[in-house]
């Protein structure tokens, strides 16, 4: 009997192919839009979080106790060699970088701004966050930046593009950075801009100056100490476990996950999930109403047919199965079509990105890149399948109620 049920349901859809096609296309377009929005929104959020993690704090950050609340030069990680030993032998660690930080004043002939120097090993930073990928091509210079370093004398500096704009400097310009050293003496050093960065991390682009670790060490009067160790893991899901192990290994240090350092980022991710769910619900409410309308008409115009089937001994349950199978065939076809089109769209935008340069100013305010790369997650398709399934099942409730309340003889004799 199931094959007869399926055959009647399928034949009914084929008999009304224009209407069936309209419903399938409606579901497919809704699903395509939903997948696109989810993929792009998630991509925006993940890019923002990824940039912050890679350029700034890593998955895990290590500080000396009390340093974050009071970033004093006396509160440094004393012996970073021990940390090196542990991290270099941990397979879960993809890369890490050690930084010396100090806040001071950077000035030029035109302007002065508060800024922070990060004393880094350029190779470590390159491994950590592919720093060269953030080089800003439009640096008020005809020279296209392809290579960068701190120069032979190690007095080069990489600065954020916003800071460069405010200081009105370009590659080759001189900066003077002034700050207190370990002895509390006010020191100044001359730096030469060797690169401009645009990371879309607001903090970095507006405040940070990368200098060589040796230059920073000499300037600040420090030896082997570091202010911050940023660790990047191969698998983000291992973050908690690695944090706990490092905390046991180094109880004298403060070891924090990225979401503990920047809870707003985590909330951004959660907010995006909620936003996606709301949008999904709204889209599928609209789709459900469309399917309900079609199924209701489909049942009402076949009341006589159903009445005949009941008259010869078909139970209401069997007729219900026919209507449900019909609805599921419509929903399933729409889902497959929408998933294929949506999936291909996401694959394209994952590879080539969606260029929203028109809104670049707005994106920069939020630390987002104007080119957004979509993400593809199985959960998009699973949630969409559940939504389509529920929509199609809900859509048959009203028509079935109409059918159940009708007597076969009334239907056959009156229609």
């Amino acid at each position: 009997m199931f094959s007869m049920t399926a055959k009647i349901a399928w034949a009914s859809l084929v008999r009304r192919r224009v209407r069936s096609l309209m419903v399938v296309i409606m579901i497919a377009i809704s699903l395509w839009g939903l997948l696109f929005i989810e993929g792009i929104y998630d991509g925006m959020t993940e890019q923002m979080i990824d940039t912050a993690i890679r350029v700034d704090c890593g998955h895990i950050s290590i500080f000396a106790q009390g340093y974050r609340l009071d970033p004093d030069l006396y509160k440094q990680i004393a012996d970073s060699a021990v940390i090196d030993e542990v991290l270099q032998h941990d397979q879960r660690v993809r890369s890490y970088t050690k930084r010396l930080q100090q806040t001071g004043l950077v000035s030029t002939a035109h302007a002065a701004r508060g800024a922070s120097i990060y004393g880094v090993n350029l190779q470590d930073e390159e491994r950590q966050c592919s720093l060269s990928g953030y080089l800003y091509p439009r640096a008020n210079s005809d020279r296209i930046q392809r290579e960068y370093d701190f120069g032979v004398k190690l007095c080069g500096a990489l600065i954020g593009y916003k800071l460069a704009d405010k200081l009105q400097v370009k590659i080759g310009s001189k900066l003077i950075f002034s700050a207190q050293n370990l002895q509390g003496e006010l020191q100044s050093m001359v730096l030469k801009v060797s690169g401009v960065l645009k990371s879309n991390n607001m903090l970095f682009d507006d405040k940070v100056i990368f200098v060589s670790a040796a230059t920073a060490r000499k300037f600040l009067g420090l030896e082997g100490q570091v202010s911050h160790v940023a660790i990047l893991l191969n698998d983000e899901t291992q973050t908690l476990a690695v944090q706990q192990e490092l905390s046991r290994e180094f109880p004298q240090l403060e070891i924090l996950r990225w979401d503990q350092l920047y809870p707003a980022l985590l909330q951004s991710r959660q907010m995006m999930k909620v936003s996606n769910m709301v949008i999904s619900t709204l889209i599928f409410c609209a789709v459900s109403l469309g399917i309900i309308g079609v199924m209701l008409v489909s049942v009402l115009e076949r009341l006589r047919e159903f009445g005949i089937m009941q008259a010869v001994g078909t139970t209401f349950g069997q007729i219900r199965n026919i209507v449900v199978v019909e609805s599921l065939l419509l929903g399933g076809s729409g889902f497959i079509l929408g998933a294929v089109i949506g999936g291909l769209t996401l694959v394209y935008f994952r590879a080539y990105g969606l260029d929203l340069s028109v809104f670049s100013t707005a994106f920069e305010q939020f630390g987002m890149d104007a080119v957004t790369y979509a993400v593809i997650r199985p959960s998009f398709f699973i949630n969409a399948a559940i939504a389509v399934l529920m929509s199609t099942l809900v859509s048959v409730l009203l028509p079935l109620r109409v059918l159940k309340s009708s007597q076969p003889v009334e239907i056959i004799s009156k229609l």
Binding site: M1, M4, A11, R304, I308, A311, G313, T315, I412, S413
Partner: protein
């Protein structure tokens, strides 16, 4: 013939199409139909023929009175039980054929057998047997809209008897047929009655058709005015 195969006692049916309007379709109808009977219910239009057939077949419920089919009290059954009774014991031939439009002739004939859970082989054998008997064996793969009225009615008859019901009800089965087709159909019903022993009750107001029956019941204004066995 065994008596009291179908027992109808004091059946009354009142329709209420509007709040203040009541229509008395049947009034205190009493009938007995024997097993293997070939009975016709006749009368002018509006006399209650279709209403009576619908009540006998469990498609409608009487306002009062009882219907007993082969010892089972139909009037006391639930909708689900009536549905099963129709499937297992009663075959219907409607005036307007009422074939399932998306199924082929073969699938329409097999439909009730499939509902009963018959196997593919059983369905195929029975369908072929009936199709040959009713001269529709070359039309089995056609859809109803590809068949003439007479052909559709023969498919409807085949569907009604395919599952070997105890009782076959036919509501004006020849009304929409030309005279030749009507005569052919009646011959087929007679053969089914004689060869397969199916109890047949049909309604008609055509004297030629009425003359073919063994048992005649005449209704007028919802009442039985005549109930006699012919020849």
């Amino acid at each position: 013939m065994t008596a009291e195969f179908l027992e109808i006692k004091q059946i009354t049916k009142v329709f209420q199409p509007a709040k203040e309007v009541k229509v008395l379709a049947l009034q205190s109808v009493n009938l007995s139909i024997s097993r293997g009977d070939f009975a016709v219910i006749s009368g002018p239009s509006g006399s209650g023929k279709t209403t009576l057939l619908n009540i006998i077949g469990g498609l409608d419920r009487a306002t009062s009175g009882t219907v007993t089919l082969d010892g089972q009290l139909l009037s006391a059954m639930s909708e689900a039980e009536l549905c099963l009774t129709r499937r297992e014991h009663i075959g219907f031939v409607f005036q307007a054929y009422n074939l399932i439009p998306v199924l082929s002739a073969k699938e329409n004939i097999e439909y009730v057998m499939r509902l009963q859970g018959s196997s593919n082989q059983q369905c195929a054998e029975r369908t072929q047997q009936l199709a040959q008997k009713l001269s529709i064996d070359t039309l089995l793969n056609k859809l109803p809209n590809q068949l003439s009225g007479g052909q559709q009615q023969r498919v409807a008859v085949a569907r009604a008897v395919a599952a070997t019901p105890k009782l076959l009800l036919a509501d004006e089965p020849t009304a929409n047929l030309d005279s030749k087709s009507a005569a052919d159909l009646l011959d087929m019903l007679q053969r089914l009655n004689e060869d397969e022993g199916v109890t047949i009750i049909f309604s008609s107001h055509d004297p030629v058709v009425i003359a073919k029956a063994k048992h005649s019941i005449v209704l007028k204004d919802g009442e039985v005015v005549a109930d006699e066995y012919l020849g």
